[in-house]
């Protein structure tokens, strides 16, 4: 892997950041001055520019040979001891793909938002957040080391928090955002732990850690970590975080790297291995070296191989970000955010970060079959689990949310069995059709005056044709109808699962395949269910009018100064009773503005053709560009993952099976929900059969997982905190005060004794003279001393008599 300097790389994340800063600091003023145009002019333009730069970089990368990566280092960040994190970006073939998807889909959704958010007083805020998200996501993708990736990793979490609780006036939405962030934080904790394990594990010092961070004696060190390490060798050290503050050896090393960069291949490849690193490519290089790899793998902690542990912790991070079991709970709630957000963050880009992470670390996961098995299993389980929940949801966005969780599960299955490129492939296609679906739903919701319940929709086919058509295309794609993008990716996943030889348990591939297939069936069913319920039959929603808004509490104090949605109680911006009177003239749903439909069209088209990037060789009417493109990236891990080899018949058979699955699901949905003609669903609901009801309630309530989590973790944590607080206030602090009080008490006691004894004496004197007689008054307290003194005197006298007899 040779580094190719590309000085403009940093602009890709930087431009959206610029937009975020502009709108974040001056947005409210701009909006007051120039209106919404002033906002989106910058906010939409900048992502497009970075998309363009991304394309340019992509082309450059494609030109410069398979084994290269574009690289730019901005400045040293954390170079301490062996730690060598810079603010530097790398664009290799994998991150190139991600980068394109993110910038392109992201920019499209920006465009979509122009129309969608119209009339919202928080317009500037929305776009500022959106741009900030772009920045974070691109940092995540382009980062050349773990720590910088972590910046993006938590950055996207922050943005999703900000955007989910965008209409903060509504407590539910605020809480949903909080939930998303905290659950993500759990994953992030896993991420950092995994990172530490990896870092020190790679260093090979796990079993007997060093006092001083010596370099390995037998390895000549190199890379930027090396300067650190050579200095560490001198005195175990903290190394400057900036080029010019670094000592000579390190500077030399940097120059060598630079030269390596400049004349490509040779020099850099010759660069000796660092002791350890947080740079992806450095770690990969180290693990390519057999000796170092064995040194790493042979280390164990808690009875597990270190590599497995590291993978599992990192995967925990991935589950948090990508909403897998056990940390998926935040994603459905995240639908509280505006629909473009759901499309961009919670469907297309952010939630795929976990998949990207696993793919990015293929060289690591490939070393641990156990970890891979866990990934695949969790993925499959999630896929089925979420799909079943999706079956009975009535909220159109909830359906899409669970379908997203399920699809992410598919991706994890793919990377879990070692078919990394397939996972990424599905990631890409999914980005297209799921974004399209979400945006379509958003268009529907906007059309139906913030109605999300599919039972109150229907018959929108005629009213909003573009939306309906693109939605249909995407449904076909996600259901995996032949020649639609989803078909290629999902079918490839199923085939890879079936033929994997990589799982630790016997014939696991088959069972995972079954699970995945069932999940696919469910997918096809509920997607078409949602389509039929929404677009076929006749419109079931009651006419909407101002009453709907009069009922919304926050419309009362919606001056432009208060930066929240006038219609906060609905998931949608105020449907612009100010800006679009047309919307209210007719109470029937209406097609959305062009800025939205165009985007829908584009994404719909991509959802159709996207699959041709990766046509399986079996069909072979097109070369499998996608696999070839990523081959250089994942090639390194090829010989760690094993495949069972089956004759083509199997592959044909499976392909046929998945086609059947797709049609079957769609057919059942058609039968049950087309135009709401069939009475069966209603009857089923009505049927008193306890089994049906119980199952339905269980699934409809998402298996009560939220409730359980709430009880165990939230209530548990709060309870614990209360207990500790009590201890702190009463015991820890109490002891301090107690000590003080005891001291004061002793003082008082002593003073009292003094006074009573002394005053007793004088009072008695007074008595003795004035009112003679009453002798014994108040002498009790005196008695004690009396005896003491008497005893002392006696002892002394006795001693005297005994010893003083030398005469």
């Amino acid at each position: 892997m040779s580094l190719h300097p590309f000085p403009y790389l940093w602009l890709i994340p930087a431009l959206p950041l610029l937009g975020a800063i502009i709108n974040g600091l001056f947005g409210s003023r701009i909006q007051r001055r120039f209106g919404e145009t002033g906002i989106w002019a910058t906010a939409v333009l900048l992502p497009w520019i970075s998309a363009a730069i991304a394309a340019w970089a992509f082309v450059t990368l494609a030109r410069s040979g398979p084994e290269t990566a574009l690289y730019v280092k901005l400045w040293g960040w954390l170079n301490v001891g062996w730690l060598d994190a810079d603010v530097a970006f790398t664009l290799d073939r994998l991150s190139g793909v991600m980068c394109l998807v993110v910038t392109f889909v992201g920019s499209l959704i920006h465009v979509y938002s122009i129309g969608y958010m119209r009339g919202d007083p928080g317009y500037w805020r929305f776009f500022a957040y959106l741009n900030l998200f772009m920045f974070a996501m691109l940092t995540l993708v382009l980062a050349d080391n773990f720590l910088l990736m972590f910046v993006g990793w938590e950055g996207v979490g922050l943005c999703s928090y900000l955007l989910i609780s965008f209409w903060y006036r509504d407590k539910e939405k605020a809480v949903a955002g909080m939930k998303a962030f905290v659950v993500n934080r759990v994953g992030d904790a896993g991420f950092v732990l995994g990172l530490f394990l990896l870092f020190w594990g790679v260093a090979g010092t796990w079993q007997n850690p060093p006092h001083v961070q010596h370099p390995l004696p037998d390895i000549i060190l190199g890379g930027e970590g090396a300067g650190a390490t050579t200095r560490a060798a001198t005195a175990g050290t903290v190394v400057g975080s900036e080029g010019h503050s670094l000592p000579a050896p390190q500077r030399v090393m940097m120059e060598s790297i630079v030269s390596g960069i400049v004349h490509g291949e040779g020099a850099a490849a010759a660069a000796p291995l660092p002791r350890t690193s947080v740079k992806f490519r450095e770690v990969e290089r180290i693990l390519r070296d057999p000796a170092r790899r064995d040194a790493f793998v042979s280390q164990r902690w808690l009875g597990l191989s270190l590599v497995t542990l590291a993978c599992l912790f990192l995967f925990l991070g991935a589950t948090g970000k990508s909403a897998q079991i056990p940390l998926y709970v935040w994603l459905p709630d995240a639908m509280a955010g505006p629909t473009p957000v759901s499309a961009l963050i919670h469907a297309a880009t952010m939630v795929t970060a976990g998949v990207y992470l696993v793919a990015r670390l293929h060289f690591l996961f490939a070393l641990s079959p156990l970890a891979l098995t866990v990934v695949a299993t969790v993925g499959a389980a999630t896929a089925l689990f979420a799909a079943t929940i999706g079956l009975f949801q009535h909220d159109i966005k909830k359906v899409l949310a669970y379908s997203t969780v399920s699809q992410l599960g598919f991706m994890f299955v793919a990377v879990g069995v070692g078919a990394f490129w397939v996972g990424i492939f599905h990631l890409v296609t999914h980005a297209f059709f799921k974004a399209c679906l979400f945006l379509g739903s958003g268009s529907v919701i906007l059309g139906c005056h913030h109605e999300q319940d599919m039972r109150k929709m229907g018959g929108l086919w005629k009213l909003m044709p573009v939306t309906a058509f693109t939605y249909l295309l995407s449904c076909l794609a996600i259901a995996g109808f032949p020649l639609f993008s989803g078909f290629f990716s999902k079918d490839e996943i199923l085939w890879k699962v079936f033929s994997t030889g990589n799982l630790v348990y016997h014939s696991g591939g088959f069972w995972l395949y079954v699970i995945a297939a069932v999940a696919a069936l469910c997918t096809s069913f509920y997607m078409f269910r949602s389509f039929f319920m929404t677009f076929t039959g006749k419109y079931r929603g009651e006419p909407h009018g101002h009453d709907a808004h009069a009922s919304s509490p926050s419309t009362h104090d919606s001056g432009l100064t208060t930066h929240d949605s006038p219609a906060a109680s609905h998931d949608s911006p105020h449907d612009s009773s100010h800006s679009q009177p047309a919307a209210h003239s007719s109470h029937l749903p209406h097609e959305s503005p062009a800025s939205m439909t165009v985007v829908l069209a584009i994404l719909g088209a991509l959802a159709v053709v996207g699959g041709f990037l990766g046509v399986p060789p079996l069909l072979g009417f097109l070369p499998n560009w996608f696999e070839h493109w990523l081959e250089p990236v994942f090639g390194g891990s090829e010989h760690f993952v094993h495949w069972r080899h089956y004759p083509h018949a199997y592959e044909w058979g499976l392909m046929g099976a998945s086609v059947v699955i797709a049609f079957l699901g769609a057919a059942v949905a058609w039968w049950l929900y087309y135009a709401a003609r069939s009475p069966i669903p209603g009857r089923l609901m009505a049927s008193g059969s306890p089994l049906v009801r119980r199952v339905h309630r269980l699934i409809y309530n998402k298996y009560y997982v939220d409730e359980v989590y709430g009880r165990v973790f939230v209530d548990g944590g709060v309870g614990l905190s209360r207990g500790l607080w009590w201890i702190d206030a009463r015991i820890v602090d109490g002891l301090v005060n107690l000590a003080g009080r005891i001291g004061a008490l002793c003082g008082m006691l002593q003073g009292w004794i003094d006074r009573v004894f002394v005053d007793g004496l004088v009072n008695q004197v007074g008595d003795g003279i004035v009112a003679g007689g009453r002798r014994l008054r108040g002498t009790q307290s005196g008695r004690v001393q009396t005896y003491v003194y008497g005893i002392v005197a006696g002892c002394v006298m006795f001693a005297l008599l005994t010893y003083a007899v030398p005469w």
Partner: protein
């Protein structure tokens, strides 16, 4: 003999002053200039004594056939007493607790007291020690009960005289035994006798030990150490403040000086160690110190009357200083002397501030100090400085004193002394609590009812400032005092 008289100069000067004041008091009865003249005479007398002290021929020697020592330590303490006496006179002049017509009487007693102190600090002979002690005690009794008709004052005096009498009686008994055992009244002689016993294990010394314990009573009483402290709070509360201020420094210092001479010179320093066969005097004195400072600090917390509080605080400080004696090294003695030098400034300052407050708001209960910080910022600030210095916070003088004492204690690298030092520092931390209580009342609490702000009388202001300067300055630049102490301290054998 002439030489001896020359070296007895300061005392002679004081005696002369006493006589002059007595006569002047009688002659000028009814005259308007009486107060002024007496005042002048007394001040001049003390200053004269000071000059006599400075003019003493250098070199240590003992006079009157070895009865009185004229060594560095004696010089230092005499100087100390003269300063205290000077302030005592000035305080008396300021205070309204000393009636106009009895001012002479006050001066007379004060000067006698000073004379006694200076002899006590130099006496090397049991008889002389006893005489000096009584010469200190008798005027003290009278001064304690100086305010006729005032019940508290009379009570105080009675307690004082009773405890004093008992204590000095017991001490006399101890002396008599020492005399019998050693066959001489000379401290050095006694010391030699004890050393001669040293070889035979301390069982054989028990008589001596008992005798010394008896004698200790007298000194402990003067120092106001536990268990002979009980007179202290009542006397401080009852007696007129100027005298109390004097009492809180002078007799304490003299008592310590006598103690040092008695044990370190008389009893004999080399035999002072806790080697087997020796009686553990450091332990005894150390325990005495611990008990004294702990009791003083703890009880002070509970006090409502500021003079009573200062009384217990002075007990606690006696405890700190006793630590210095307990280690029984010349370093310890130096530490005690330096401590006394600083203690003089800060303690007198505190009492003067109390007087000033009393003069204005006519109360000595801490609760009446509320809002003093706003009513008279300067006075409150000065009092705060004195109190913080008593706590021992740098950069104030008190810290240096404590530092020297603890340093002396720790320098003797012995287990018990580590413990002693620990108790000492913890005590000084505790002491913060009650000193800070006064400060809190002054600054942090609103005066209840109307609280007119008042201006400090210039005389008070000036005198307070005079005392504040060394309190602060010695914390930052204590070299002069340290050098003086180093030069004058006696070298423990």
């Amino acid at each position: 003999m002439r030489q001896d008289l020359v070296r007895f100069g300061p005392e002679l000067a004081l005696s002369a002053t006493v006589a002059l004041v007595l006569f002047a008091d009688l002659l000028l009865k009814g005259s308007g200039r009486r107060r002024f003249v007496l005042h002048g005479l007394a001040v001049l007398g003390v200053i004269g004594a000071g000059f006599a002290l400075l003019l003493l021929p250098s070199g240590d020697r003992s006079i009157f056939s070895g009865m009185l020592a004229v060594d560095g330590m004696a010089r230092f303490f005499k100087g100390l007493f003269l300063v205290v006496a000077l302030f005592g006179i000035l305080f008396g002049a300021l205070s309204d607790e000393i009636p106009e017509d009895r001012f002479g009487e006050y001066l007379l007693l004060l000067l006698c007291l000073t004379l006694g102190l200076s002899i006590l600090s130099a006496a090397q002979n049991l008889l002389l020690i006893y005489l000096a002690l009584e010469l200190v005690s008798l005027p003290s009794y009278i001064l304690a009960g100086f305010r006729r008709g005032d019940k508290r004052s009379s009570e105080a005096a009675l307690k004082y005289v009773i405890y004093g009498g008992a204590a000095s009686g017991v001490m006399l008994y101890g002396f008599s035994l020492l005399y019998g055992l050693g066959g001489t009244l000379d401290l050095a002689g006694v010391g030699q006798y004890v050393e001669s016993l040293a070889s035979q294990g301390w069982g054989s010394q028990l008589a001596v030990v008992a005798a010394c314990l008896f004698s200790l009573a007298g000194f402990a009483y003067k120092v106001a150490a536990v268990p002979f402290h009980m007179w202290c709070p009542d006397v401080y509360e009852g007696a007129p403040t100027p005298f109390v201020a004097f009492l809180s420094v002078g007799p304490k210092a003299a008592g310590l000086a006598a103690l040092v001479r008695f044990f370190l010179v008389g009893y004999g320093a080399p035999t002072f160690w806790m080697t087997p066969g020796e009686f553990p005097w450091p332990l005894v004195l150390g325990v005495l110190a611990i008990a004294t400072m702990t009791l003083g600090n703890l009880v002070a917390i509970a006090q409502e009357n500021i003079k009573r509080m200062l009384a217990y605080s002075s007990i606690a400080h006696a405890g700190y200083m006793l630590m210095g004696v307990a280690v029984g090294t010349s370093e310890g003695v130096r530490a005690v002397m330096l401590y006394l030098g600083i203690y003089l400034a800060m303690n007198l300052g505190a009492f003067l501030a109390v007087m000033a407050v009393r003069a204005r708001i006519g109360s000595e209960s801490i609760s009446d100090y509320k809002g003093l910080g706003t009513r008279s910022p300067y006075l409150a600030a000065l009092l705060a400085i004195f109190l913080f210095s008593l706590v021992g916070l740098p950069p104030l003088g008190g810290f240096i004193g404590k530092f020297y004492v603890f340093a002396a204690v720790l320098h003797v690298k012995y287990k018990f002394f580590y413990f002693l030092a620990l108790v000492g520092v913890l005590n000084s931390a505790v002491s913060l609590y009650y000193y800070a209580r006064v400060i809190k009342t002054m600054f942090l609490e609103k005066p209840d009812g109307e609280a007119a702000s008042f201006t400090l009388a210039p005389s008070y202001g000036a005198l307070l400032t005079v005392l504040m300067i060394p309190t602060v300055a010695l914390g930052i630049w204590w070299k002069p005092l340290a050098d003086a102490v180093a030069k004058m301290s006696l070298v423990v054998r």
